[in-house]
Symmetry: D2
């Protein structure tokens, strides 16, 4: 395998919302130069691609990124050297969704939520995006609040309607999450639930793994390997966490875990674009600057991928076959312990890029420029 060629082909998608302000329930800290509209978000995302060379797609979030003319937005993206990635629906930031969206016991709310999801498919048509990402914050806070099982019926109904609406070459990815913002039940709390719904619907429904959405101790690479084996791994929402859904930069909390995940992707053939595994970031840069935060994250995924590609499959298989526990582990660790930064610097130079993206961006003056220009207007943020 030509490692460099494989690494050059890996595309990491950044999310438009990562360029706006974000925070915790306690405080959203504002940053300088934050974009005020989807066009400025795309411009920032284009910077990440310009310095890393492997981040050519940008996910949109509806309604945060609603515009009059999606064709124009797509053109704007193309002019910046990037393209529109997944369309992310939002059925959690409207007063009507206080007790749920597609699983709400009120049929009027369910209709409204489904309408939004179908509108997102319209936007896919308009932008040429082939992927709809569905995350439902739906759930309950108190035992008895609503009927767990009836909510599954309602969920199944909504998913079927969306599935039905998908066009040729379109798919949706169903996201699961253990908790937050619901604190007792969540209607899609784990991969099993997402998988069960997707299997019933068919090949256009797949599961997306957000690396921060699991209970403590859950083995994420196992889930990745399992879903790949089933043809149901639609992609990743990458980020990292020490505690709950912390949404820190991917690879910053447990780089070895990220490596193990990427190893299972490599092992399962998931780097082959034909499998359709999407490598997306989904993070909250609460205190660190946005664009460098994304650049570092893209680099972290790339470093983990490079290390995963360095694992010697023959030596590993031999040690596994012989039951050589320490030997097999050592094959994996040898790859992990390798410093791949020189390899990746070389790769960038082959692509005509600076070897150190963080330093190059810092020197570019882009931040100073947007900090000066983007005054007035409403800073974009969650919900903006």
């Amino acid at each position: 395998m030509d490692i460099k060629a494989t690494l050059r082909a890996q595309h990491i998608e950044t999310p438009s919302w990562a360029y706006g302000n974000s925070g915790t329930r306690f405080k959203v800290f504002a940053q300088q130069g934050v974009p005020r509209d989807p066009y400025e978000k795309l411009a920032d995302a284009a910077q990440v691609h310009a310095y890393t060379g492997i981040a050519p797609a940008v996910a949109l979030h509806i309604p945060w990124d609603k515009v009059e003319d999606y064709a124009e937005l797509s053109r704007h993206a193309r002019d910046l050297g990037v393209g529109i990635g997944a369309i992310n629906s939002n059925v959690f930031q409207d007063e009507d969704y206080k007790l749920g969206s597609v699983t709400n016991s009120d049929p009027a709310v369910r209709r409204k939520a489904l309408g939004h999801l179908l509108e997102c498919v319209d936007i896919m048509d308009a932008t040429g995006s082939d992927t709809l990402k569905l995350w439902f914050s739906d759930g309950t806070n108190y035992p008895g609040q609503d009927d767990i099982r009836a909510r599954q019926d309602r969920l199944a109904e909504a998913l079927a309607a969306v599935y039905e609406r998908l066009g040729e070459g379109q798919r949706f990815l169903l996201e699961y999450k253990l908790f937050e913002p619901a604190f007792y039940t969540t209607d899609v709390p784990d991969w099993g639930t997402a998988y069960a719904h997707c299997v019933k619907l068919g090949p256009k429904a797949q599961v997306v793994v957000d690396t921060g959405h699991h209970a403590p101790g859950v083995n994420i690479e196992f889930i990745v390997a399992f879903l790949l084996r089933e043809g149901k791994l639609g992609g990743f929402d990458f980020n990292s966490r020490f505690y709950a859904d912390d949404d820190l930069m991917v690879g910053s909390a447990d780089p070895f875990q990220l490596f193990r995940i990427m190893y299972e992707v490599v092992r399962g053939g998931g780097l082959d674009p034909a499998t359709g595994v999407a490598f997306m970031l989904d993070q909250c840069h609460n205190i660190e600057p946005k664009i460098p935060g994304q650049i570092r994250s893209v680099m972290n995924v790339q470093e983990a991928t490079a290390k995963a590609l360095l694992v010697d499959p023959g030596a590993l298989a031999a040690a596994q076959r012989e039951g050589d526990v320490l030997g097999a582990n050592a094959v994996l660790m040898d790859a992990y312990n390798t410093d791949v930064r020189p390899l990746l610097a070389g790769l960038r130079e082959e692509l005509g890029l600076a070897p150190d993206p963080m330093a190059a961006y810092a020197k570019s003056g882009y931040f100073e420029k947007i900090a000066a220009e983007r005054v007035g207007g409403q800073q974009a943020g969650w919900g903006a």
Copy 2:
């Protein structure tokens, strides 16, 4: 609904191994009067049924409960007023299984493990048991030790062979567990994995929920509701835990959780024997006496069931429909806060039993008798 009639019909199965010594990796503390063979285990289990009136079945564990003549064992059970319940396979206590049983990279070990599983079906035939419970300790301790995905292939192959062998009216229940004794990957770590395998095999394969086998924070009643909705809830291995797989007496750590689980069983129709949901105990009485520990556990399940049956479905549905969060929660809590002990004492008296099973057993002199008689021989314990 006639609550008392429903409670009378609920059967709770106790496990033969709960009557033997058990412990932690640090120490197995021996107790007096512990049975020395399967016949004595059945005698102890019969005591639990004699005082509770709802524990007429006893699960066997193979090879711990191997006997020459299973027909004789079944007769012995019948004479004691109980019957043989699920057959539990054991592919974790042989030196060959150090690196796995049906998922071992060595085909000879896999063949041996499969042979044991098929032998368990033979024992089902011989005892008339209709349920095989499959728990695999298979997994790995170190990243790289073995191939996650290949192990799934091997697991699927073994399960298919067992499924094929099942006769008319027989089924298997597949158990999942997050970790222990494997500490990196477990080959069936969660309900999603068990569910996916069972769905592929067909109706004779179902999932069993051991209440101590989840990651911290996982909502067990959600899983119960989901599996019931899918027709894939085969039953429970009841116990309770504060930390990991502590195997304490069911209901002792979080009685409210047990109530919520039983509420979902009631809600989903799982008390109807036709659904085939088996209510089994699986506990380790490391420091408390065995028989009273089982009696208390049976009573705890019964109390939780009684409370679940007291939930007013009409009031609950109305509050849920209106989005009355506090009202709906209050309907559930009203049932939970009810003291059902008088109701259950009355139920026992109707059955001709003493109202207080713990006191009645203590007074019976059974413990003093077995403590005096069961000297010499090898006390039964895990592995014995």
Copy 3:
């Protein structure tokens, strides 16, 4: 012990901020009739006291509850039948505190934060409050971001300055929290850290236990028992959680845990007002109405306390002495399984209150009144 007299003497303090809007990072859902200033918050809190009879104190949050004239605010409270409880400082909602307050590496920020804390003591003087509650959101999100140990030095310095400023009969309670909003280190993450600082400072510094601020599996009643034994339990911030710091109504997620906590309080003499243990609520009513949410919470604490008072100390001690594991557990469970609602209804009637506070409040028309009157102005919420 006269249980009813003890229950009558127990005071539960409600927090002013619980009457305003709150939410998660995803969305703050607005409610009708939410107060627009500290005076209206006190009016709502007075309702909780009016129907429960045991919630006569209201905690303030500075600067959210800043007013021109604290003497007037205290008078207003008295007129409503309540009083001012603990003063809660806030050093987490200012742009300057992005990287910390009293532990910030910038001395100017530290000075500002300390200034705020000292101002809170001024407000204690002005209101007659004897308790300052200190919670620091300070921490870091990324390894290396700041020096763990230097931050402890800065924390110690600030705490010493506040301690020095405390007057006769004044104290502070130091709160700990595992994580959020900081996601890598928190400067006061556990009771050990809070305890160590308090021990060094002296008797006016005590630890406050927020029941939602622990890692999964941590035994909270152990901490309560330990701190009481050391004379360092200053009080509680009550709420409940299934996952992280969910801030649900106390007693709603694990009523048995709340009972165990209250049992340790009873066991350690913590209901004696002389010990100074403060019973405070700290919850977020994201989706349920505020005032009934607080009423239910006060009732839940009271029910747990009543059950704890029902534990038979002589029977318990005897069983413990004899090593009777099941017997000792049964003594505790007998109290827990008792339905104390009739007892508490009777208690309320002796106090001249309606036996069912939830129903009485619902019938009172108060909600309809504030929903109609409190239009216009800015609804209070976190940060308002």
Copy 4:
């Protein structure tokens, strides 16, 4: 700082019990060539030192390592090139300790347990060991089983008696553990409890951090930094875990965490032998061979230490001072991402050792020799 000199001075202590068989509650898998007495354990430990050059001390476990003549045992160790390290007490493997040792409600059991602890000090005198390691499995399985607070009184009494007995230059390290084998309360469950007891006793009592003994999410390096700042970090029991107290090889589950821990040790001066921080291993090699398992573990600690030493303190402090979140994190990550294996291979060659200890041991024929020689007799294991 001379990194190589510092690394040469770091001593890692291996435990005698790691060379014997170990397992889980489900099964202890036997290995070939396992030692049959303390003398053979020392011989195996000497191998680890021979190939790593930095493991010259061996911890003993009493009564597992009881011998007639400790002077002879010490001589034997010296002849092998190693020395006796910490003495580990064992008050958990006797029938009397079923409900606790020093915290048992039965005074006779407490006396017996204290007697054992004092005997361990005698053995320190006899062997010249300066460190006693105290781990208590004491706790309860069920709420109400015993009095949490009375158990603290009993614990304090026993610790005071042991403290009193310590001679000049002797100390004890108190170990904490969240749970297992006790599943409801543990009498020393966290660092705060251990710290509080040690502070009261004086400078000869310190806390030992077992890296597997925390609740999920607990930040271990914070505890390390805090205890070092207080002069109360006595040392480490190193191992690693994905779930609970898995006792895997240190550094195998989360090498980045091990690096962060070692960074705080370096930052706090803990590599200076004057601070007395002991670097001890405490692992269970359930499925991997014992001696190579220890060699790998020693190497993992050394690699983490080397990386920690590579952190540029000036650059880090500057970034931290400026609030440069990404910059400060990058300084740490630069060190972590460095491949230190060449550096350590060079270090070994300077010491006259083979550059690859694993390969050198494998080639040595030692395993084949002990597998052939150590037949007959009783293999050593937990409790043997």
